[in-house]
């Protein structure tokens, strides 16, 4: 059940090679994509210009089409170091806002998924009645649902975290429900009959057999769910004209052509997503560490 293997030299090397290749390609692309703008806005002023001038200009533009990696890194650094944590200029402030709605939505989605799957597994009627709706719910694009949810919850007086968490929950509960229905049904006949011979109640069978048997199904779903929840939380920040959050940061960045700001927010959201799934994976290793399938 080891999902995260320890990085060794042999696994770091290929990753480093790919990283270097990506950085080189990124710089190449930066020069290529920014060249027309650079020529028009910067280089035409000083009429004879060299290749060095061009490269120099494309890599250090105010509003590049594609910012260079060092520009994004510098922007991230100043944002994290030069501003206090509670300032909207500090990206960690936005990470906290988005992270909060993601985690609340993830908790709600996981709880909803657990309740739904337990109902579905214990009742044939609910199995037939609920499961098709659970599946159908995911064919409605979240971008279409988000504004509606925000408007309705807003009119009911919910603002701030709650509406965003609801949309994160909408994306989270589905993988949890589907995996848990499968997991709760995973015990073999012999295990179920054994509980029966001990005159175990339904709840005891659920608590002592079905839930522990379902855990190996639950954790992969949680990893998918928390990443999906982050998408939901960020999508929910777009239509509100929200003041804070990584989604809002992306939106204002694109309004004002602040491409560097967009990229910094993108990098931060990627890091947030990696951290969240990493935490779930760590808990998985701790919980399932001493299990091994025969």
């Amino acid at each position: 059940m080891a999902t995260t293997s320890k990085p060794s030299v042999s696994s770091i090397f290929p990753i480093t090679v790919i990283l270097l290749a990506v950085v080189v390609a990124w710089y190449g692309l930066t020069v290529y994509l920014n060249a027309p703008g650079a020529i028009e806005r910067v280089l035409d002023a000083l009429s004879p210009w060299t290749w060095q001038d061009l490269v120099n200009a494309t890599l250090n533009m105010q509003r590049p089409v594609l910012p260079a990696p060092h520009q994004v890194a510098a922007d991230l650094w100043t944002s994290l170091v030069d501003w206090p944590l509670d300032s909207p200029r500090n990206l960690l402030y936005h990470v906290a806002v988005t992270g909060e709605s993601t985690l609340v939505g993830f908790a709600m989605g996981t709880a909803l998924g657990l309740v739904l799957s337990i109902c579905i597994v214990h009742s044939r009627t609910l199995d037939r009645a609920l499961l098709p709706w659970v599946v159908a719910s995911q064919s409605v694009p979240v971008l279409a649902i988000a504004p509606i949810v925000l408007v309705i919850l807003g009119s009911m007086g919910f603002s701030g975290v709650a509406p965003k968490a609801v949309i994160a929950m909408y994306l989270c509960f589905f993988p949890v429900t589907v995996a848990m229905v499968q997991g709760l049904r995973s015990p073999q006949v012999i295990e179920t009959e054994m509980m029966h011979t001990y005159a175990a109640s339904r709840w005891q069978a659920l608590w002592m057999l079905r839930l522990p048997a379902a855990l190996p199904f639950l954790f992969p779903a949680l990893r998918v769910g928390i990443a999906a929840g982050l998408v939901g939380a960020m999508v929910a920040e777009l239509p509100t004209g929200a003041q804070a959050g990584l989604g809002a940061r992306l939106l204002t960045g694109s309004y004002y052509g602040q491409t560097i700001q967009i990229w910094s927010a993108l990098v931060m959201s990627a890091l947030l997503g990696l951290t969240l799934t990493g935490i779930v994976a760590t808990i998985e290793t701790l919980v399932l560490g001493n299990r091994r399938q025969a």
């Binding site: 073999q188 012999i190 001990y198 002592m208 025969a294």
Partner: protein
């Protein structure tokens, strides 16, 4: 101490009383007579083996007694009550063909499972489970997980689990069928000693003649299509047995009688 009146009462009531029991699968389209007119009475303290070829209904009969299947006609009483009531009263422990240990529980955790289901206190569960682990010779393995044990040790843990709440009846469905012969011999010997010490009623399903003769006080020979009892053979062996007994003329004669009965059932 509260058990002694129960035991004296039990000696008058048969542990298992099967009367004219039949079980027909799929009665409307293509009826299969899994069990036909079974009559069998097992007294408390007996070790009864059900033996026969595949499809003779030996496992089905055990499952009927354990309330895992239901007869279509006739009656089955366990300790004088229906199998359903007996199951709810935790009258029996059942050992399956596979150990069916939960991979997320240690040996100790697995053995105390039935006690936890009965809602006993954590300390009591622990103490009783440890005692039963010792009785099947698994002391020192309490904190091991099932995958860390050999097949024979896993099955011993599952026997400890079935006995943990001191049921008066132990039902075993080919418990050693999946084990190699050397391990099976050793476990047979240990099971014999266990029965010797505690004199619980045991109903034991097997397809091994040697196993049935070595362990049982009575051997019920069954035959398929329809599943029925062809002969009941009383053991003439002394209660106290050791593996060397298997070369004695008495043992060989009993094994021969069982083989004959199996052949008779086949020819009919």
């Amino acid at each position: 101490m509260t058990q002694s009146p129960l035991l004296s009462q039990a000696s008058t009531v048969p542990a298992v009383q099967v009367t004219q029991a039949s079980l027909i699968y799929n009665p409307l389209q293509a009826p299969v007579h899994a069990l036909a007119d079974i009559d069998l009475s097992i007294a408390p303290g007996e070790f009864v083996s059900l033996i026969g070829p595949s499809g003779c209904g030996k496992t089905t009969l055990l499952r009927v007694i354990a309330d895992l299947e239901h007869i279509t006609s006739g009656s089955v009483l366990v300790n004088g009550v229906s199998p359903h009531e007996a199951r709810l009263a935790r009258a029996y422990g059942y050992v399956f063909q596979a150990p069916a240990l939960f991979p997320w529980r240690t040996v100790l955790g697995n053995v105390k499972l039935p006690l936890q289901i009965q809602g006993r206190s954590s300390a009591e569960c622990d103490a009783i489970a440890r005692q039963h682990i010792e009785r099947v010779g698994l002391s020192g393995f309490e904190t091991k997980y099932p995958w860390q044990l050999s097949g024979g040790m896993q099955q011993r843990a599952s026997i400890a689990r079935a006995l943990s709440f001191e049921p008066r009846i132990l039902m075993m469905d080919e418990p050693f069928g999946a084990l190699d012969e050397i391990t099976r011999d050793r476990l047979n010997e240990q099971l014999q000693q266990l029965w010797q010490r505690e004199r619980r009623t045991v109903v034991f399903v097997t397809h091994s003649i040697a196993e049935a003769v070595y362990l049982s006080t009575r051997i019920v020979v069954m035959s398929p299509r329809p599943g029925r009892i062809v002969r009941v053979i009383e053991s003439t062996l002394p209660d106290e047995r050791h593996l060397g007994l298997r070369d004695s003329p008495e043992f060989v004669a009993l094994a021969h009688a069982v083989r004959e009965a199996l052949a008779d059932g086949h020819d009919e």
